[in-house]
Symmetry: D3
C-alpha cells in the first residue's frame, strides 16, 4: 500500500530524471547529422554501457613512412563522448620516427609519456617551447598551435593523448601544403619555399600541381 504510494512518488522523480538523462549526457546517434555542438542524441532508452566504453586503444602499426601511428578514441569511434568536450588517443613512435609538424585547429592536446623518450614542442613567432620528455612527463600543446613529437630515444616510445574536444582535427603540415591540389607556384609564393622543394614534397605526399584562375 505504502509501497504503491512510494512507487508513484519515485515515478514522479524519475520522470524529471529521465529528462535529466537526456541532458546529463547525450550519446551520439552517428547515423544522424552532426551540428556545431555535436551529434544528435540517441534515445536514452537505447543507450547501453557500450556507448561509454571504447576498446582498442592499443599499439598501432608503425611500419610506415613516419615510423609512427596514432590510434584515436574520438566521438566517431566512441559515441558516449558526444558533447562532453574530451577525447583520447594513443601514440606509438618507433625508434627514429616522429609525428611531423601538425595542428589541432580546435583542440588543446595533452601528451602523457608512458614509455621511451619523446622530444616535443610548439612554436610561436617569438619563441620555441620544446623539451625532451620521459615516462611520467606530461606536456600541453595549446589549441591551434603548430607542434611536433619526435622519438629521440634508443627504443620505441609510447604516449597517451587527451584532447579538449570530442572530435579534434589533426592536420599534418605536409598534407596541408603538399597533399592536395594547391598549385606549386602559389605554395612557393605563400611559404617562400623554392618551387623545386615544393615539387619534391608534392611528389612524396601525393599532391597534384594544377593551375588556378
Amino acid at each position: 500500500m505504502k509501497k504503491i504510494t512510494q512507487s508513484l512518488f519515485l515515478f514522479t522523480i524519475l520522470s524529471c530524471t529521465s529528462n535529466a538523462a537526456v541532458n546529463d549526457f547525450c550519446v551520439a546517434d552517428l547515423k544522424g547529422p552532426d551540428s556545431p555542438s555535436g551529434y544528435q542524441c540517441k534515445p536514452p532508452n537505447t543507450v547501453t554501457v557500450d556507448d561509454f566504453v571504447f576498446s582498442g586503444l592499443v599499439a598501432g602499426n608503425t611500419t610506415n613512412t613516419f615510423n609512427a601511428a596514432l590510434t584515436s578514441a574520438f566521438v566517431t569511434d566512441f559515441p558516449g563522448l558526444n558533447g562532453l568536450g574530451v577525447s583520447a588517443a594513443r601514440l606509438d613512435i618507433a625508434k627514429g620516427g616522429s609525428i611531423p609538424m601538425h595542428t589541432h585547429p580546435a583542440a588543446t592536446e595533452l601528451l602523457i609519456v608512458v614509455e621511451g623518450q619523446i622530444t616535443a614542442g610548439f612554436m610561436t613567432p617569438s619563441a620555441v617551447y620544446s623539451k625532451t620528455l620521459k615516462a611520467g612527463d606530461v606536456m600541453v600543446f595549446p589549441q591551434g598551435q603548430l607542434h611536433f613529437q619526435v622519438n629521440s630515444g634508443n627504443g620505441k616510445a609510447t604516449a597517451f593523448l587527451a584532447f579538449s574536444s570530442a572530435n579534434p582535427g589533426a592536420q599534418l603540415l605536409d598534407l596541408l601544403l603538399f597533399g592536395n591540389s594547391l598549385p606549386s607556384e602559389l605554395i612557393a609564393q605563400t611559404t617562400f619555399l623554392d618551387v623545386e622543394q615544393v615539387k619534391k614534397l608534392k611528389a612524396r605526399f601525393g599532391g597534384r600541381g594544377i593551375d588556378y584562375s
Copy 2:
C-alpha cells in the same frame, strides 16, 4: 506610393529580422531529436505565446514516503526554454518531510523560500555549508554539489527553484545507490556501508541485487 517603398524597405529589414528570430530564440521541437545544445527549433512561423508560457507551477501532492513534491518547468514541459540556459521548479515539503541528498549533475540550483522553514545545505569533503532558511531567503547550490532540503519548521514549507540549465537532471542519492541493479557487494565495497544496510535500502528503493561479471 511612399507606403509601398516603405513596405519594401521594411520587408528588407524583416527578412534579416526573420533570420534573427531563428537565432534570438529557438523554441524546442520536442518531437525531434535532442542535441548537446538542446532540441531543434520549431519553424518560427509556428511559434505562439503558449510556447513561452508554462501553467501549473502549483503545489504538488506531498502524500508520499518523503512528504515532499517537486513540480518542474523544464524544457520538456516548456519548449520556449530551449537553448536559454534557465528553468524553474516548485518545491512543497509537508511538516517532517525532506528532499533527500541529491545532485544536479549539470546545473546550479537557486532555492527561493516563500513559506515555512527549510534547513538546506551542501557539503565538500572539507566543509559543510548548511543553514536554516525562512521566507525571503535565497540559497545557491553550485553545479554538481550533493545537497539536501529538510522542512525544519512546524508547518508546510514552499519554495521556488531556478536552475542554470533548461533541462537540469535531479539524481536522488538513494536511487543512484539502491534503486537499480548495482550488486549489493559492490555498493558495500565502494561506499563502506554494511551489506545489511545496503540490502535494507535496496528493499525500500526497489533495487534488485544481481551479480556481475
Copy 3:
C-alpha cells in the same frame, strides 16, 4: 596506526579536493575587480555559508511613480552566485502599476507569478508574444528582447524572477531614451517621435537636452 595511514591518504585526496573547491565554486571577492567571467574568487578558507545565502527577497516599496518595485539577488548582493550563471529577483506591482518596457542585454528572464494577475509580453518586429498570467504561470523572455509586465488584476501582483546571468542588467526604455543627455533632436530623428513628445518625457525622466558636435 591504521588511522594515521588513512589520514595521510585523506590528506592526499583533500589536497586535490581543495583545488576542486576553487573550481567547483568561486565566491566573489566584491572588493576586487570584475572580469568578463565575473569577480575574482575569495580564498576558499574564508568562504562561509553566508556567502551562499541572501536574505531579504521580500516585498519592495511600490509607492513610486510606477507603483512597482524590483528587489534583486544578483552577484553584487550575493557573492556565492559568482560564475554560476543564475540569479533571482522579486517583483511587486501595486494595482494599476507596471514594469515599463525594458531589456536585459545579456540575460534571459523567467517570470514566476505567485499572486495576482500580470499581463506580460515581448515583441519581435514581426510578432507580439503577450499573455495574461495568474499564480502558477511561468513565462520566459529570451535574452535581449524588449518586454513589459503590467498588473492587469484588481489587487497587487507578486512574482519571482530568475535570470540566466549572475549579474543581469535591467534597462528601462524610458531611461535609455529620456533619462540621459541624448539631444532631443537626435532622439526624435532616430525614433520618429515628435520632438515635443521627447521633451515632455525628458522632463519626466530627468534627461537634459544638450547639443552635440
Copy 4:
C-alpha cells in the same frame, strides 16, 4: 611498395582528419532544422569553396523612408559561417538618412566607417556613449544595447559591420513598438508615450491596434 604503405598510413591519418573536418567547421545545411548551436552540418564531401564565400556585400538601395540600407552576410546567406560566431553586413546611409534606434539581442556589433561621417552611439540608463565617426574609425556596440547610426555628414556614408554571431538579429525599436498588433493603450502605459503619438507611429509603421483580454 613503400608508396602503398605510406598511402595506408596517410589513409589512417586522413580517417581521423575527416572526423576533424566535421568538427573544424560545420557548413550549414540550410534545408534542415536550426538548433541553439546553429544548423546541422552538410556532409563534408558536399562542401565546396562557395560555401565559404559570399558575393554581393555591395551598396544597397537607399531610396526608402530611412534613406538607408543594410545588406547582410549572415549564416542564412552564407552557410560557411555556421557555428563560427561571426558575420558581416554593409551599411549605406544617404545624406540625411539614419539607421534608427535598434538592438541586436544576442550579438555585439562592430562598425567600421569607410566613407562619409556617421554619428553613432548607445545608451545605458546612466550614460550616453555617442561620437561622430569618420573613415578609419571603428566603434563597438556591446551585445543587446540600444544604439543608432546617423549620417551627420554632407554626402553619403558607408560602413562595414561585423557581429559576434553567425545570425544576429536586428530589431528596430519602431517596429517592436509600432509595427505589430500590440494595443495602443498598452504601448502608452508601458512607454509613457501619449496615445496620440503611439497611434500616429502605428499608422506609419503598419501596426494594427487591437484589444487584448
Copy 5:
C-alpha cells in the same frame, strides 16, 4: 638594408602576435587570485617551456585504507593548463583496492586502462552503466555523475585519467557524508541510512557529529 625593412615589418607582425600570445594561451600566475575562467596570466615574457610540462605522473603510494592512489596533473600543479579545459591524472589501485563512489562536480572523466583489470561504472536513477575493463579500454564518466572504480583483477591496476577541466574537483561520497560536521541525525534523515551506520562511518572518516540550529 632590405633586412632592416623586413625587420620592421616583422616587428609589426610580432606586435600583433605578442597580443596573440596573451590570448592563444594564458599560463596561470598561481600566486594571484583565481576567477571563474581560471587564474590570471603570467606576463608572456616570463613564460618558459617548464610552464607547459609536468613531471611526476608516476605510481602513487597505495599503502592506505583504500589500497589506491590518485596522482594529479591539474592547473595548480601545472600552470600551462590554465584556461585550456583539460587536465590529467594517474590512478594506481593495488589488488583488492578501489576508488570508492565519487563525483567530479564540474568535469567529465575519461579513464584509460593501461594495466590490470578495473570494474568501473556510473549510475542514473534508472540505470547502471558498469563494465569490467582491461588494458586498452577507455570509459567515459559524464560530468557530475556518481561513479566508482574497483580493481577486480588478480594484480595491480593502472590507468590514466583525462578531465574536461583544468581543475576538476574530486569528491568522495564518504567524505561528503561522513568526513565533516554534518549531524548524524540529519545525515540519517536525508539518506535513510540507520543512525548507527552513520555513526560507524563518521568514526572511520573522521566526521564529528554536532547539533545545528
Copy 6:
C-alpha cells in the same frame, strides 16, 4: 514631491542597472593582468565613449618584404572590445604582394574585400578551398585553419577583417618554422624539408640554428 519619490525609485532601478553596467560590458583595464576570459574591467564610472572607439584603421605601409600590411583593432588597441568576442583589422596588399600562410590559433577570420583582387584560401589534408575574390566578396577562414591571401590583381588590394575573438593571434608559418631557435635538423625532420632549404629560410627570417639537449 512626487518627483522625489520618483527619483528614489529611479535610484533603486539604477542601482541594479549599475550592476548591469559592470556586466553588459567590461572595458579592459590594460594596465592590469589578463585572464582566460580577458582583462579586468575598468571601474564603470571611468569608462568613456573613447573606450568604445578606435581611430586609425587606415592604410598601412606596404613597403616591406611582403608588400603588405596588417593594421589591427584588437582589445589591446581598443579596450571596449574586452570580453565581447569580436575584433577587426585592415589589410593592404600592394601589387604582387601577399599575406603568406598563417593561422589564427583561436579565432575565425572573415575577409571583406573592398578594392582590387585577392586570391585567398585555406586547406585541409583532403581539400583546398581557394577562390579569387573581388570587391564585395566575403570569405570565411574557420578557426585554426592554415590560410593565405595573395594580391592577384593589377593594382593594390584592400580588405577589412573581422575576427571571432577580441584578441586573435596571427602566426606566420615562416616565423613559426624559421624565425626562432628551433634547430635546423629538427625542422627538417618534422617537415621533410631539405636542410639546405631550412637554413636558407632561417637566414631570411632571422632564426638562429642551435642544438638542444
